[in-house]
């Protein structure tokens, strides 16, 4: 983590839908190579905030820059410098492993030579040499997740957004997945994880906790636990989210 370089900065970022304020003046910074956990209960405003950061939704007010680009004016540049992976959609199940890699490499404008050399390294790192020509749909879930992450960082984005990346994965695969995340973070890629599972949160350098559209807490897991004199992040979350008014997806 490089504290000298901020890759995400937001200032009073707000999104309103009519009278409803989905995210309310959120202000935070995320550093290069940081693993940043973005947590909140259902309906707290996580998804709305993340959509704005990805350039998919225009904020109602406030400022934010992603990888140095303004999210109002330079959304295309923002999109080119981020990667995205969610549990629901990540890869095309009816394409092979290699076809998926080539497709996403192509989408981000990588040259064929780059795709070729990089994909070989990637396949080797994942130990998937035998699976290159298999359909993604036929792979076990854990492999899909690892592959999906590798594809999301294939174009070496500045930031990768992960939406509940390891829900339901077996514990060993999950560890392998986090190994990949650590490695990417070491290379200087910022990891932005949204989840409502606290055990995923414990891996993060810092965590922000959203309740009813506000960021209620932002610190490292250790310090949050100290602050709320809690044993686990679960308890911290419970303390913070218990009084939440909003319940909705």
């Amino acid at each position: 983590m490089d504290l000298n370089e901020k890759v995400i900065t937001t200032h009073k970022l707000t999104k309103r839908f009519g009278d409803f304020v989905a995210t309310n003046e959120i202000t935070f910074d995320v550093y290069k190579g940081e693993i940043f956990g973005f947590l909140g209960a259902n309906g707290a405003g996580k998804t709305t905030a993340m959509r704005m950061l990805c350039g998919l939704s225009t904020p109602s007010s406030g400022e934010a820059s992603i990888a140095g680009y303004d999210i109002y004016k330079e959304t295309e540049k923002v999109k080119a410098h981020i990667g995205y992976m969610s549990q629901k959609f990540s890869l095309y199940e009816d394409l092979t492993v290699m076809e998926n890699i080539r497709l996403f490499g192509g989408i981000y404008g990588m040259s064929n030579a780059y795709i070729k050399s990089k994909s070989e390294a990637l396949i080797q790192q994942l130990g998937m040499e035998k699976e290159v020509k298999k359909l993604v749909g036929s792979l076990p879930l854990g492999w899909k997740q690892k592959l999906a992450f590798s594809v999301a960082v294939f174009h070496e984005p500045k930031i990768v957004f992960l939406d509940e990346p390891t829900g339901g994965v077996d514990p060993i695969t999950r560890r392998q997945f986090w190994d990949l995340i650590y490695e990417a973070a070491d290379r200087g890629i910022t990891i932005f994880v949204t989840t409502h599972y606290m055990d995923e949160a414990e891996y993060c350098n810092r965590i922000s906790m959203m309740v009813d559209g506000y960021i209620k807490a932002l610190d490292s897991p250790t310090r949050l636990k100290q602050q709320y004199s809690a044993e686990t992040m679960d308890e911290v979350f419970f303390e913070l989210a218990r009084g939440a008014q909003r319940k909705g997806d």
């Binding site: 259902n42 409502h196 055990d199």
Partner: protein, 305 residues
């Protein structure tokens, strides 16, 4: 007579290509809160569908409240309450309409068994005219539980009820299960979240169709064969790599804030490793002996299998 019993149940898909459940046997005592713990694809849903008579087992025998899942499927369908993994109520019907519908389907009324669901229903009652599809994850789950309970079932089968809901709702849900247990209802619940295992009386750990272990959560933790240490330092990923390369380390896994380590031989291996790490200039080293979690046990059992 156990409330739920499985004897070497097997189930395959795609003409035997995919073994979903492989000779699984376990039994749930009457009034017990039993957890089936395993990741996606472990075979949990197949087991639930066999027990709810939705799927036929290819091999083995299973019974629910004494009735055979193949022969006596009609009896079982009267006696169990079932909550499938996916939210399975009518999204375009209101909370109250859903509940009324399922009460009628089971030949009863909301009033007849209101005492059983009251504690849960009160929480969603303010939204009783809202369509089920517009509820939050936690409220959907409560409504689904009410619908599964409306006919006062003897056995409650809950397939991943806490998947996709936030911590607060999860916690509330487990408290509801405890209260239902006190009413004498047998509960078989599955979850992919290892931290929920300790909330059950007994658990079965399951992976790719095979049972890894069946015991009380404490029993499973006691069976962990080695001493377990938690370690942290300033640069966690470098730490992970360095520890893994150290020959006397048996396993090292990232566990959030800490890495968990076991050694090949426990005598002075720890001290040697610490010395090694200090030589590698690791800052802020912190290490402590810890009690394994169910997740540690699961990893250990998986590595052996």
């Amino acid at each position: 007579m156990p409330a739920v019993e499985l004897q070497s149940i097997s189930k395959t898909y795609n003409n035997g290509e995919l073994k979903a459940v492989n000779e699984v046997s376990f039994s749930v005592k009457k009034g017990e809160l039993f957890g089936l713990i395993g990741p996606d694809g472990a075979g949990k849903t197949s087991i639930f569908r066999i027990l709810t008579t939705l799927l036929l087992p290819e091999q083995g025998q299973a019974s629910v409240v004494g009735y055979d899942v193949v022969k006596d499927y009609k009896e079982i369908r009267k006696k169990v309450g079932y909550m499938p993994g996916k939210f399975s109520l009518y999204q375009d019907l209101s909370v109250q309409e859903n509940l009324e519908f399922f009460a009628t389907v089971f030949g009863t009324t909301i009033e007849a068994n209101y005492d059983l669901i009251r504690d849960i229903y009160i929480q969603i009652e303010p939204f009783r005219h809202r369509r089920a599809g517009k509820l939050s994850g936690g409220m959907k789950q409560k409504l689904a539980l009410c619908c599964a309970l409306i006919h006062r079932p003897e056995v409650l089968l809950l397939d991943e009820p806490t998947t996709g809901v936030d911590t607060v709702s999860r916690k509330e849900f487990w408290e509801m299960l405890k209260r239902l247990k006190q009413e004498g209802i047998t509960i078989l619940v599955s979850t992919p979240y290892m931290d929920e295992a300790t909330l059950c009386e007994r658990i079965a750990l399951i992976e790719t169709g095979n049972i890894l272990s069946i015991d009380t959560p404490e029993g499973i933790i006691r069976q962990f064969p080695k001493l377990l240490y938690a370690i942290k330092a300033a640069r966690m990923s470098q730490l992970l790599r360095d520890i893994r390369q150290y020959p006397e380390v048996d396993s090292c896994h990232a566990f959030g804030e800490f890495h968990h380590i076991t050694f090949r031989q426990n005598e002075d291996a720890l001290a040697k490793l610490l010395g090694h790490l200090q030589n590698l200039q690791h800052q802020g080293l912190e290490i402590k002996a810890i009690t394994p979690t169910i997740e540690d046990c699961f990893i250990n059992l998986l590595a052996k299998a």
